[in-house]
Symmetry: C2
Subunit: 419 residues, 2 copies
């Protein structure tokens, strides 16, 4: 048999360092040309495998591949597409096997969150049963930091750094102006179910009075009275109040906070996000002038302010995934294991995909202060190492230069896939 | 007579480099101790002079003053407060004279936009008439880039860099996901009256298909039909459409676009900004899945991604203001003069405050493409030099370390000011 090829795909919402993992995968595979043939990347993730849209990464120069390390978003395209279980959709699994077999693909590396690890695990099982065993290795990625077992997820450290830096800077802005102008600033951050990102914003506060003064977590039911009291006391004490609100913050009854709000001219339930909703509530009840920001995709694509630790770990899990595959491991995912010493250290560990799949790690209650509006010392100890170091991209003409791929597709051998 | 003191105040909306100008002022004054006594900074701008809240900057270490160069927002506090004309409010002018005289202040440096230059000019005139002449020098500052005569305004280059970098990064994010998810991304930027900031986002587009695909300028009346056509064609050609919209974009009748929109649960005319408004319009008319971002204060406080050129110029105008004062100039403002050579160069020029005051420089029509949705080559030539170079702040624990001032107030000598 000729050397086996490797298929790599990016899955789900992208991050500012998922391409660093791709870089780790491809560079490590290139160092092992005696064992691994071509590295194919799925055009738009797993959909690329179904459609037999296989990007031949061997056509990319080593310089381009190296540049992936500092390029945000999914350079090969990602997708929101979850394979159903085998019993529900045998056709998809059969098609994947067909494509993998046609292109002699024996390694499948899937770079994504919990859903993707579930998919990778199923393919590993299924391929064994079908007698064309595929080595399936997960590569962790998610800004939400919600995968179990691993100490943290590549992608999270950089968004954490972005939100901490942003609220520090905007906080200084509001502090400058609050005597005669804006007194309240609300910044909305990602995190539908878990408050990891919102919590990381708390790192910006190093001394009493520093922004943020209030964090609203999805884990803590919103209490309007206590919240407004806290806003008022912050304005009285510090002259202003800087608030970080997680998009997932909920009422006691489990409904999203912003959903309780208005309709726009078109009758939409929700025109703005939760930031303008909260800002308006404050204006209405307390009368303070406000500003608000929703950074949305900016936060998860902000490679210009990535955490060096995050970039390094993202690369390392990509490299480890290839090494695991070459060692004959299967249905596993490299994890980040935190050292127990006082000084932060980490190494690569290993978890079974079956233990990762579909389990969401929410933020422990002990990371959130008793009043529910800030983070504890224990949370700070957890978060701080993850945002350490800066890893600036190269600039040309004042703009970061990010990798531009050829994305040359391998010649198709099969019939077109009918979805 | 003892050495005269200098009063410096920050005015209006702050920027990520206004403190670099403060640094230039204070460091240059300290180099001229034979001529200038103390440098006082107004606590919260000119209001600090009225209240006799004079921050004694001599109490700050040279290290702290140096750190101002890389600290965003207004370190001494700024304000939105415009002095009325002398005939309208003699009391305020009399009070300023009283405070300046009591503290032997003979130099007044006012760091702000058009309004502030007007104020500085009036004080210069008035003090002459009153027989206690104050040397009044303007220091230009505004993210809006709307001052006349000067080639550009310190503060603008950094917000320009921020928006260009941000839309490049978010554009890559959308490009990764558009095959199966979000197809339209809308980023709202500042600029109530002039499209300079929105225009600068156009620098992110270096090759056909790069984000942003559409820019909406305040200078161009919004044409819904043409806009939607352009969105559709961008999605068809490139798979997605990244849009930058200026907060000041207007309908043909001169009303702000977002004002035409909905009411929220509280009956407010405008819950969200123009970004969610535009995003909803697209969803409604074309059905595309969207995301939107409003960076608000984040854009003007983003010192972490400041333009090195901007920082240098901000410092230089602060230094030049002191040098002008020492040369006996009065009622003038240092400007940035662009060299005529092919390679960008600049030097400090000089303008009369009376020529600066209350004149708004909007973006020339020739900087905007014929269809009104992008910038021209001439605009790119103007913008590019202003975002050149990175000037990163120092980091500790993964967070930028910004100056923390003592802000020690000079002992008061006068009665309390009753507004």
């Amino acid at each position: 048999m000729s050397k086996a090829n490797l298929f790599y795909a990016q899955s789900g919402g992208v991050t500012s360092v998922i391409n660093a993992s791709a870089c780790g995968v491809i560079e490590t595979a290139r160092l092992n040309k005696d064992k691994i043939g071509k590295v194919y990347a799925g055009l738009n993730g797993i959909v690329g495998a179904l459609n037999e849209d296989l990007i031949d990464t061997s056509k990319e120069t080593s310089k381009t591949i190296a540049a992936l390390r500092s390029t945000p978003a999914g350079a090969f395209g990602s997708c929101r597409y979850k394979l159903k279980s085998y019993t529900e959709n045998k056709r998809e699994y059969a098609r994947l096997m067909e494509v993998f077999q046609a292109h002699n693909i024996r390694y499948f590396l899937y770079n994504g969150g919990g859903d993707s690890q579930d998919t990778a695990n199923k393919i590993a099982q299924h391929s064994l049963e079908k007698g064309f065993p595929i080595t399936c290795i997960g590569v962790p990625k998610t800004v939400d930091n919600d995968l179990p077992i691993t100490d943290n997820c590549p992608g999270f450290g950089s968004v954490a750094k972005y939100v901490a830096v942003s609220i520090r800077e905007a906080g200084l802005d509001v502090a400058s102006m609050c005597a005669s102008s804006t007194k309240v600033f609300v910044m909305e951050v990602m995190g539908r179910h878990a408050g990891w990102i919102a919590g990381a914003a708390g790192l910006a506060s190093e001394e009493a009075g520093d922004a943020p003064h209030i964090i609203l977590f999805p884990e803590i039911a919103f209490n309007k009275e206590m919240f407004l009291k806290k806003v008022k006391s912050s304005v009285k004490r510090f002259g202003y109040c800087a608030i970080v609100v997680s998009e997932g913050v909920q009422n006691k009854d489990g409904t999203f906070l912003a959903d309780a709000g208005g309709v726009d001219a078109f009758g939409h339930v929700q025109l703005g996000g939760v930031a303008p909703f909260v800002a308006n509530m404050i204006k209405d009840e307390l009368g303070y002038k406000y500003h608000w920001a929703v950074s949305d995709y900016l936060q998860r694509s902000a490679r210009h302010i990535a955490s060096a630790t995050d970039v390094e770990q993202a690369y390392a899990v990509g490299r480890a995934a290839v090494q695991f595959a070459l060692k004959g491991k299967n249905a596993v995912m490299p994890t980040i294991v935190r050292g127990s010493g006082k000084k932060y250290s980490w190494k690569i560990g290993e978890a079974k995909l079956s233990d990762i799949a579909n389990i969401e790690k929410i933020m422990p209650r002990r990371y959130i202060s008793r009043d529910g509006f800030s983070i504890t010392e224990e949370a700070r100890e957890y978060f701080f190492p993850l945002i350490q170091g800066e890893d600036y991209p190269e600039y040309k003409n004042g703009i970061p230069q990010y990798a531009r791929l050829k994305k040359q597709l391998e010649k198709k051998k099969l019939k077109q896939w009918a979805d």
